[in-house]
């Protein structure tokens, strides 16, 4: 599945982004997302957070799939489901987030992974970064994080 931006637009999107203000970037982001139909997997055992994280992504036009436990997450990835972004909480039923991240990376998935957790200690942060998440965030998930990541993801060639 190709997710590249048409090459003609690439430079101008970057310029638009750099010179645009917040409103402009939000609009541009939505355009890019709609063009590329980006998808995200949200893995969080807590229903409130799960709903919120998905809604946040929806507001940027990202299609999401949510699972509330590690086993489903790993099974999904192992069955070749492709996502542009994975958001994962640390404390999950079955395996913890760190272990799931390790397994997902071992399967060979290279998309952006965001670790979102209620408690962030330095050692936790280091452990996650070492396992292969791209960004480590303490809850609550504020809109700027997925925004910045969405942009980065849409630039990645697939």
């Amino acid at each position: 599945m190709a997710h590249t931006l048409p090459s003609g637009d690439q430079a101008s999107d970057q310029d638009k982004w750099d010179s645009g203000g917040l409103e402009c970037n939000g609009q541009l982001l939505i355009e890019i997302v709609m063009r590329n139909r980006l998808t995200a997997l949200v893995v969080d055992g807590d229903t409130t957070c799960w709903v919120l994280e998905q809604e946040l992504l929806h507001s940027y036009g990202v299609q999401t799939l949510g699972v509330d436990n590690s086993r489903d997450a790993v099974d999904l990835i192992a069955s070749d489901a492709e996502f542009n972004l994975i958001i994962i909480e640390n404390i999950l039923p079955v395996l913890n987030g760190l272990e799931v991240t390790r397994q997902i990376r071992e399967i060979g998935v290279r998309c952006k992974m965001l670790e979102v957790t209620a408690c962030s200690g330095e050692s936790e942060r280091q452990a996650f970064l070492a396992t292969g998440v791209d960004v480590f965030i303490e809850k609550p998930l504020d809109p700027d994080h997925p925004k910045g990541t969405r942009w980065a993801v849409s630039e990645d060639p697939f």
Binding site: T47, T48, V51, I91, P143
Partner: protein
């Protein structure tokens, strides 16, 4: 009461919740996700939170009642509660959870029991606050008005 008066009351009430530390900026983010295609989003997420938190508080009570307290289990429940409360902007609940986790770390049962009471209290208080908030919003909608948005510049 006149529509304008109810709207004024809602704005003042919401501001007081921020002043008293019941809510933080995250709540505004939540409100921003609500729109015409999702008109009851805030109400739904807040309701979800209280359903979940009730279960978590029960689990915590049971866990602390055991002869051999499983601190890891305790910690993971508090972790979850901290995450969800911070996600809806329930600041005082979140802070109570932070204190709770510190006692879990040092395996202090008395401290944990006190914190559990504290967390329960904060959940109860903020639940009442939300109920008042939603009631005011409903009154406004019923009078044909629109709910005023709060700016965080006060």
């Amino acid at each position: 009461m006149e529509l304008v008066q109810i709207q004024r009351r809602l704005v003042d009430y919401t501001k007081s919740l921020f002043m008293e530390g019941f809510l933080d900026a995250q709540f505004l983010q939540l409100q921003q996700l609500q729109d015409d295609s999702n008109p009851d989003f805030v109400f739904e997420v807040v309701s979800l939170f209280f359903e979940d938190s009730e279960k978590l508080l029960n689990e915590l009570t049971i866990a602390l009642d055991q002869p051999n307290v499983d601190f890891k289990k305790l910690d993971s429940h508090v972790h979850q509660l901290k995450g969800s409360s911070s996600s809806i902007g329930a600041q005082r609940v979140k802070n109570a959870c932070i204190a709770f986790r510190n006692y879990c770390d040092v395996q202090n049962i008395e401290g944990c029991l006190t914190c559990l009471q504290q967390v329960k209290q904060e959940c109860y208080l903020v639940k009442n606050k939300f109920e008042t908030l939603f009631r005011l919003e409903q009154q406004i909608m019923a009078s044909g008005g629109s709910v005023p948005t709060i700016e965080l510049g006060f």
